[in-house]
Amino acid sequence: MNRHKNGGIRRWAAVFLAGTMLLLPAACAGRNENQNLLPSKEVDGRVVNFFSPMEKIDPDAENVARTASDLTVAMAEERLGVTVAYSTYTAENYRDKTYDDVALDRARSNMDDLYLLNPDTILTLGAEGKLRDLSGLDSAKNLREIIKTANTVDGKLVAIPQEVVAYGLFVNADMFRQYGLELPETPEEFLECCRVFKENGIETPVGANRWWLETFVFAQAYADLYNGGNTEAEIAALNSGEARYSDYMRPGFEFLQKLMDRGYIDAEKAAVSEAIEAEGPDFLAQKTPIVMAYWGAANSETAYGKPDFDMQVIGFPSSRGQMPVMPMTGFAVGADAEHAEDAMRVLDVITSDEALQLYSQTNRVISPSKNVSVDCVPALRPLNGRIEEGIYVLGSNAGMNVEQWGNTCQIVRQLLGGATVDECMAAFDRLQDAALGLS
């Protein structure tokens, strides 16, 4: 027995020594001095330049949406062997060129291959013929009809999104409960809530920025148009000039006017505020009970992903109850882009069902592909419920001859800047007339 044990130790010692003997020459092996010492480098010139917004970030914060998007881009890079080089921009302040302005400039100057564009920019560039038709892509076949409709300009599908962006009201349900308030369904109820908050010492019940107040307008303007069962005819009437955009827009503008007049919105501050940057801290600090934001903000730590209170995301008040507003952002490829073909391939991968599944799972958003569905976070359930019911308004529609998202935003800014509702309506009329070729 003992001898056996001794034998075992001896055997191990022998193996150890033999291993050492083998390793010694390997460790002492010299390097060959007569060769090119540079490691051979693979030359891969295929680059796709991708222009996208830059987000100002906090240290160590995790942006789920960005992570999700990056995962799909990494998938494309791996599949296609290309490098996606990001160019980013964001405005430093309201005096700076907006992202949309820069996107327009860059697309018109063919600076990049792939663009992430807001709805108005999509329509503008689409109309100028600066974007490629994407309807031939495999991924385009999986898109929901509403996405195709909203992004088709002159019969060309010019953009494909990775998520359906839905805007809603982010409310602090704890504060509503605190003051015995129900979540508002109609504009009147909303005003009543604001009154109660204001009376209870909340100076500005609604946190706003210079971008997203237009969502209130869309909800009230198009609640009936999109949910009344006569959508196509009403749009046709607008396009032909029989109906006036200003008539649709007026109630929303008047509503905004009331909010401003009654001090429920700080118009001056809003006019120079960037999205989330200005109103976000107050909302998270529970000083402001209501803000407006897009779906993904509820998932992202950089926005409202981790509130300390019961946050609910509901639709905007309208005659038909809470109304989600859905503009269509999307990826587009420059018509004369230097690497247009590679950009198309990248887009095909990042909007494929597989990539969208990954994106939606990571980000928990509504997917544009009819084949992908994912559970949303609890806060988004009220909003999601309405969308599932098919009740929402579009913030942009390529079928309308007046671009909605960008123009409305601009006109709301005019309102914030002191223009009257009538002046704002006149602006809409001018736009419509221009579209009809009357001026």
Binding site: S52, E55, I57, D58, R66, D105, M111
Partner: protein
């Protein structure tokens, strides 16, 4: 003393431990110092390395700016030379570096750029005062292409007269193209180009963008990288103002990094970014890792050595302990052996003294009475008395010698059991025949009981079984005073296997009993109960040892319980193989017996009959009283009636009469009675009746049936043979010892037989060869003889070409009295074996059997 040694040992252990700790401390300090030094050197090397890289980039950018400025000076000269400077500008085309050329003639505020757009200098901010080669550089801005750009202006002069100002817009993208596409430090470094005036980041690393956020401006950079230290920020501000370079350590996302602000072109542009220290110190990390590996390997080797030493020590310790244990075991075994030897020696001494006493006592009697015999030879009465006493003493001496020989044989393992078929009936009868007279002589009552037995035809060593029973019973007789009771019980226990009969033999007496101390040694050889009472009894003290050895040899057990003055009970349990086919149904069928009646008041007796007859195929009807079975008896249902005798005062007599009356003629009644049953005379007087001794055995019944059914003539001749002696027989005896020969001749003569003695085997063979056929009735053959021994002689006789050579009875007569001697004799062709000293009764019995058997053949 021992305590002091322990303390010293402990102190030595502590100082050894302290020494090891000290060595480790010194070792650790050295390693730490080396690591520190390496780390410091690496840090300064890292700073050096990063500075060089940044210098390189700085020079590259400055070279580009200078080239652009030189180019612009050239264009300005060309424009001045042109006839129409504005036309010249408009005709210039843009490229990837110069995206817009504009000339504002002196005295005007706007003009047309080469791209056809209206150009004014209003949007351009030259207030910061930055220059390249003396030409003012504007603050960076986003141009019409949506990309960051800057404009350099210079005057267009002809002959000292200023024609206007030339504005050329350059994009940062051209600088970007000049920078290494892979970044530096293996893409781990981040590099931004910041416009010093606006603090906007105008060039960002490609491929970062969304993935690593990118930064908008210096504030964003601070926030994103959590640079909140006011000291650092103030220092940065100062550097920006002075156009100085700055390097500082700051963790970026928990990674130690070198952050930099590197002035380019006198501070109009800054390189901003950070490099993880690890990325710069890749080789340093490797060095550190290697140091760590070396230290770890050394420590591992050290601990391995310690472990090996420990295992070795433990093994040595184990071996030492094992040896110690072995030594202790040996010494214990030696002392035990010594004690055993002493005990053995003592008991042998005791034995020898006992033997001396026991042998001398009968020998004294023999010699004494021989002396008396020679003196009183004339007085026949005294002669008879003396010879009787001499015989008794001789018998005792013989049994003593037999026992001693038996013990020595058993102890040397030479005893072999001889397995033969036998019936318990024979065993019980022979034991009964021996013990009954002994008991009667001592005025004791001896009973035999058999219960629960299923089979009586068994296989085993009958002789040894007899020996067991006789040893136990003769002991009981010896140690029971007159008037005592001795009982032999044979009890059939539950069978463990259907091939073996499991029996318990109980020998119980109400004699002197034994002390608990003696009970412990009763089965040891050479021990004997020593007290005043038992000293009256003669014995070798070997009987119990022999009995136990035989029982164990048979695979059985023996135990004893005893109480002084109350008696003893010996219990032997044995398993004996059942004979195959012993039932022999054909025997009963052949004798026409299919149903018998057993009448006995004792239920156990009835049960015994029924159990034992189970395999015979004979139906047994049992009844406690004869009246219960009279009806079928009259009907002639039974071929045989067994009637238990319960004494003269009982109903047995009437029962016999009732049966005689009821039974059809010729149906025999067998009276089952104890050996010494009283009142049987009356039954015999009342008419013929057959007896069967209790306990009941099938074999005994069979013999009885054979006798009853047999031919009358046969019965008569058998009777004669049983009753007869050796009268008229003539023997040929081979015996080399003269005295023995004489004794033999005398004894046979006394029995009325004649004998011719020859001196060895050869002579016996020759004499037999010469003899007439039928001249001798049997040959008595000694075994150990000169010339030719008994075995060879028997073989030779059997081989003779005579008709009677094969059947003449040859009886071995030898002092070789063991079972194997008997077997050897039978193997040699002899018919029987009679041990010496010669027992005339035994000889008669054997001769009778042989002669009778041969005659039957």
């Amino acid at each position: 003393m021992k305590e002091t040694a322990d303390k010293r040992e402990r102190r030595r252990g502590v100082s050894l431990l302290l020494s090891i700790v000290l060595i480790f401390c010194i070792f650790g300090t050295i390693v730490y110092m080396v690591a520190q030094k390496t780390s410091q050197e690496m840090a300064s090397a890292a700073i050096q390395s990063l500075s060089e890289s940044l210098d390189l980039i700085q020079c590259t950018i400055e070279a580009i700016l200078n080239s652009e400025a030189e180019f612009q000076a050239l264009i300005a000269q060309e424009t001045a030379r042109a006839e129409d400077p504005e036309d010249f500008i408009l005709s210039a085309s843009s490229n990837r570096t110069i995206v817009k050329l504009s000339l504002i003639p002196a005295g005007r505020t706007q003009s047309i750029s080469n791209n056809g757009e209206v150009f004014t200098a209003e949007g351009l901010d030259f207030s910061a005062g930055g220059t390249v080669r003396g030409m003012p550089v504007s603050r960076s801005y986003l141009n019409y292409m949506g990309t960051w750009s800057y404009t350099i202006k210079c005057p267009v002069e002809r002959d000292g007269q200023e024609l206007g100002t030339l504005y050329i817009e350059y994009v940062y993208d051209s600088i970007d193209r000049a920078l290494p596409s892979d970044g530096f430090y293996n893409k781990q470094a981040s590099l931004y180009i910041m416009d010093a005036e606006s603090q906007r980041f105008v060039l960002k690393p490609k491929g970062m963008g969304q993935r690593n956020a990118g930064h908008l401006n210096l504030d964003d950079f601070y926030r994103a990288n959590n640079i909140q230290d006011p000291g650092i920020r103030a220092e940065v501000e100062q550097c920006l103002g002075e156009g100085r370079n700055l390097l500082f350590y700051h963790d970026i996302r928990s990674v130690n990094a070198l952050n930099y602000m590197w002035s380019v072109n006198g501070g109009t542009v800054f390189l901003v970014g950070y490099v993880p220290v690890e990325a710069i110190q890749q080789e340093g990390r490797t060095v550190n890792q290697n140091i760590a590996i070396v230290v770890a390997v050394m420590l591992a080797a050290f601990f391995l050595c310690v472990i090996l030493y420990y295992f070795n020590w433990r093994q040595q310790e184990k071996l030492r302990r094992e040896r110690e244990q072995e030594r202790r075991l040996h010494s214990r075994q030696l002392s035990e052996a010594l004690r055993a030897a002493q005990v053995a020696s003592e008991s042998k001494t005791t034995f020898l003294s006992n033997m001396s006493h026991d042998i001398r006592t009968p020998m004294n009697a023999v010699l004494g009475f021989t002396t008396l015999l020679s003196r009183d030879a004339e007085d026949p009465a005294k002669v008879r008395e003396y010879t009787n006493k001499i015989t008794a003493s001789g018998q005792h001496l013989l049994s003593l010698i037999n026992d001693i020989l038996d013990v020595s044989k058993i102890e040397s393992g030479k005893v072999v059991l001889t397995y033969e078929e036998f019936t318990l009936n024979d065993v019980v009868s022979s034991v009964d025949a021996i013990i009954q007279p002994m008991a009667r002589a001592k005025g004791q009552e001896f009973h035999v009981e058999v219960t629960g037995l299923r089979h009586e035809y068994l296989v085993g060593d009958e002789t040894r079984l007899n020996q067991i029973l006789i040893n136990l019973l003769s002991n009981a007789v010896k140690y029971t005073p007159a008037g005592g009771h001795i009982c032999l019980r044979i009890i059939g226990l539950k069978q463990r296997s259907n091939q073996y009969e499991h029996i318990r033999i109980e020998v119980e007496d109400d004699g002197y009993g034994m002390t608990p101390e003696y009970l412990k040694t009763i089965f040891d050889a050479f021990t004997r109960a020593e007290n005043s009472t038992t000293n009256k009894v003669q014995g070798t003290g070997l009987g119990m040892a022999i009995t136990k050895s035989i029982v164990e040899l048979m695979g059985g057990t023996i135990d004893v319980t005893s109480e002084v003055d109350k008696g003893s009970l010996f219990r032997v349990e044995l398993e004996l193989r059942i004979q195959e086919g012993q039932a022999d149904r054909r025997f009963w069928e052949a004798h026409g017996i299919s149903r018998i009646l057993a009448v006995d008041e004792d239920a156990q007796s009835r049960e015994t009959v029924r159990t034992l007859m189970e395999d015979t195929g004979v139906q047994v009807d049992a009844a406690a009283r004869v009246e219960q079975a009279l009806e079928p008896v009259r009907g002639g249902a039974f071929q045989l009636v067994l009637l238990g005798w319960s004494g003269p005062g009982s109903d047995s007599l009437r029962a016999v009469e009732a049966l005689r009356e009821a039974l059809p003629g010729g149906t025999p009644i067998l009276l089952l009675a104890e050996h010494d049953a009283q009142g049987l005379e009356k039954v015999r007087e009342s008419g013929p009746i057959e007896m069967l001794t209790k306990p009941f055995f099938v074999s005994a019944l069979r013999e009885k049936v054979v006798r009853l059914w047999a031919d009358a003539d046969m019965a008569d001749s058998a009777k004669a043979a049983y009753a007869g002696s050796l009268e008229g027989l003539r023997f040929l005896a081979a015996e080399d010892n003269e005295i023995n020969a004489e004794i033999l001749a005398e004894l046979l003569e006394l029995e009325g037989a004649s004998c011719e003695i020859v001196e060895n085997g050869r002579l016996a063979v020759e004499r037999f060869q010469r003899s007439e056929q039928g001249e001798f009735d049997a040959v008595l053959m000694d075994v150990q003889m000169p010339v030719m021994n008994g075995h060879d002689a028997a073989r030779a006789i059997r081989a003779l070409p005579r008709e009677d050579a094969g059947r003449i009875p040859i009886i071995a007569m030898t002092a070789n009295a063991f079972a194997e001697d008997e077997k050897a004799a039978l193997d040699a062709g002899m018919d029987a074996h009679v041990p010496k000293p010669l027992d005339v009764e035994l000889l008669k019995k054997v001769v009778r059997q042989c002669v009778e058997g041969k005659e039957k053949r």
